[in-house]
């Protein structure tokens, strides 16, 4: 049984059929990537897992438990945390407060401190900026903060939505290094990326989403080699 199991979900925005029978799974300790063009339904898929969007049919299961009736904040408690697209750090909260919000479901102050110090160990830059508000950080720092915030609760599954978006190339590389190191510590990751090349580099397996449907799924290596994928997503002609 996979750790995270998405089975045949259909989601709608009004009359727009955003996801059609999307199924995917993430095993324990795996990095899985979901690639696809803008508007293919990648973020919607993540939101269905996080509980922000309710699929009309199909199931989302975490370690066998159906999440259909679980409130978003309880899903976080169960160990599924999403880093939303565009970072979405709380601009008016300080770095420290942002991290504390990431650890909202932690009940003991000790765990909270522990989480914060882990985040600062991972991103020393954040420690320098700890009492600055989120809005004053640079894009890269905000991405660090967003990831650090999500790691506060030591999630079982980390959902990353376009972590490289809008970042300078050198920063993109360091973000992907971070992702690898998080994975190395044993966290399962579902990575949504437009930058398919980088994503397939770090991931073990991958899915290709197009117009709300999964059209391909294979190991990352095979996908990277796939002619269709290369043409459509890796910028080769």
């Amino acid at each position: 049984m996979a750790l995270l199991d998405v089975d045949g979900i259909n989601a709608f925005y009004g009359n727009i059929h955003a996801l059609r029978d999307v199924s995917l799974s993430v095993d324990d300790g795996e990095i899985v990537t979901l690639i696809g063009a803008n508007g293919a339904g990648k973020t919607t898929t993540l939101n269905c897992i996080s509980g922000l969007v309710r699929p009309r049919s199909g199931t989302v299961k975490l370690a066998g438990e159906d999440l259909a009736k679980v409130q978003p904040h309880h899903i976080v408690e169960r160990g599924v945390v999403q880093v939303p697209e565009g970072r979405r750090t709380f601009a008016r909260l300080t770095v420290d407060e942002n991290l504390r919000m990431g650890g909202f479901t932690l009940t003991s102050e000790a765990n909270l401190r522990d989480g914060i110090s882990r985040a600062y160990d991972m991103f020393p830059r954040l420690k320098e900026r700890r009492s600055q508000t989120g809005g004053t950080l640079s894009g890269g720092e905000q991405q660090m903060l967003a990831i650090g915030r999500a790691l506060m609760v030591s999630p079982r599954v980390l959902l990353l939505d376009e972590p490289s978006m809008g970042l300078a190339p050198t920063l993109v590389e360091s973000i992907f290094e971070t992702i690898s190191s998080i994975h190395a510590q044993g966290t399962s990751i579902l990575l949504v990326e437009q930058n398919a090349l980088m994503a397939l580099n770090v991931a073990g397996r991958g899915y290709v989403l197009q117009s709300g449907q999964i059209i391909l799924s294979d190991t990352a290596a095979n996908l990277a080699a796939n002619e269709q994928v290369r043409q459509a997503y890796l910028g080769e002609i």
């Binding site: 922000l52 978003p72 904040h73 945390v81 939303p84 709380f90 601009a91 919000m101 909202f104 915030r149």
Partner: protein, 359 residues
């Protein structure tokens, strides 16, 4: 070409009118004040009295304004029914007070009086919070994703409904708060012609304490921070494991508690309550929230105090020197003119952030 020229001319005319307005208001204020002060009809002590009564009124406005500003911050909703929540608190305090007065506890000795005031506050807060949560559940929560005007109209409906519910419950008559002896006594200041009652001190001090407490709660505690996080970005807050509904309910409860406490203070000073009591303070507190920059907690406090002072001192200072008949009839004219003036210079209130313009 012609159109371009016309547009230019209109622009100039518009700018002219704008400046004219600003200059006119400033002139009125300066000349009026100069004439009043020059006339010397009022002693320094009476100015002090006006300032104190303005501060008392302003403290009450500020406490009510907190509810408006917090709910606005989190839901972008003008909670029109908040004035009625305040009125309900005043009624709640009244019934506790009459019960205590009936058994002779209220004025038995200073200690029982203090306990009584605390009990009145507790009663008022229970009533206000219960009502606010009911209103949130019934009239606002189902409309959370609707266009902004829809919950506004629902809020106006709730305001009417509550007002006339209380009229039905308690009739149109005026209910008079029992007097709390120790609060009605003068503070021994020893200044001839200047009097302050203990109740004035209580209002100002408890307002400051409550506002400081709220500020610390919102800035320093986990729950308070989560409220700030939700008011910034609900979806992301949910992704962090924050229960968005709980944060919103919490916000309503805190605002209502402040309004309930303000209700008791109001009852103790002005000693009357009836079903219409909430309407005018509600509008004023909302104005105070806007003055300070709506959504901003320190702004609401500042706005309340500022509005209280404008109302208390403004008519006498600006108008009586100009020979306007019955200047105090025009206190709200001054209050709202000041509001417009502040908004012209700072379109998002005194402490409102500039970014808020992008709403």
């Amino acid at each position: 070409m012609y159109a371009r020229v016309m547009e230019r001319i209109t622009d100039v005319a518009i700018a002219g009118v704008l400046w004219g307005f600003r200059i006119a208001v400033v002139l009125l204020v300066v000349v009026g004040s100069a004439l009043t002060l020059g006339g010397g009809r009022h002693s320094a002590e009476s100015w002090l009295s006006l300032i104190v009564s303005g501060a008392v009124l302003g403290s009450i406005y500020a406490l009510i304004a907190l509810g408006y500003t917090m709910v606005y911050g989190i839901l972008r909703l003008i909670n029109f029914a908040h004035g009625e929540i305040f009125m309900a608190g005043t009624f709640g305090g009244y019934f506790v007070a009459t019960a205590l007065s009936g058994i002779g506890f209220l004025n038995l000795n200073p200690i029982t009086s203090i306990i009584s005031v605390v009990l009145m506050m507790a009663g008022a807060i229970v009533v206000s919070v219960t009502l606010a949560l009911l209103v949130e559940r019934i009239a606002y929560r189902p409309l959370r994703n609707a266009p902004r005007l829809v919950p506004l109209i629902s809020a106006i409906g709730a305001s009417f409904f509550l007002q006339y519910t209380f009229r039905g419950f308690f009739g149109p008559g005026i209910y008079a708060y029992p007097t709390v002896g120790i609060l009605d006594a003068q503070v021994p200041l020893g200044i001839e012609g200047f009097r302050v009652k203990w109740i004035d001190v209580l209002v100002i001090v408890s307002a400051v304490v409550m506002m400081a407490g709220l500020f610390l709660f919102v800035q320093r505690t986990k729950l308070g921070t989560s409220i700030r996080a939700v008011s910034e970005d609900k979806a992301t807050a949910a992704l962090m494991g924050i229960d968005v509904n709980r944060a919103i309910v919490m916000t309503f409860a805190i605002g209502a508690a402040m309004a309930g406490a303000a209700g008791v203070l109001y009852g103790l000073i002005f000693r009357q309550v009836y079903f219409f009591t909430g309407f005018v303070p509600g509008i004023k507190a909302f104005t105070a929230a806007v003055l300070g920059g709506i959504g901003n907690i320190p702004g609401a406090m500042l706005g309340g105090i500022f509005l209280g002072q404008v109302e208390g001192v403004g008519p006498t200072l600006f108008l009586s020197g100009l020979g306007v008949p019955s200047p105090n009839q025009l206190r709200d004219v001054i209050a709202f003119t000041m509001l417009v003036l502040v908004l012209i210079f700072r379109p998002s209130g005194i402490l409102g952030e500039r970014v808020a313009q992008r709403a």
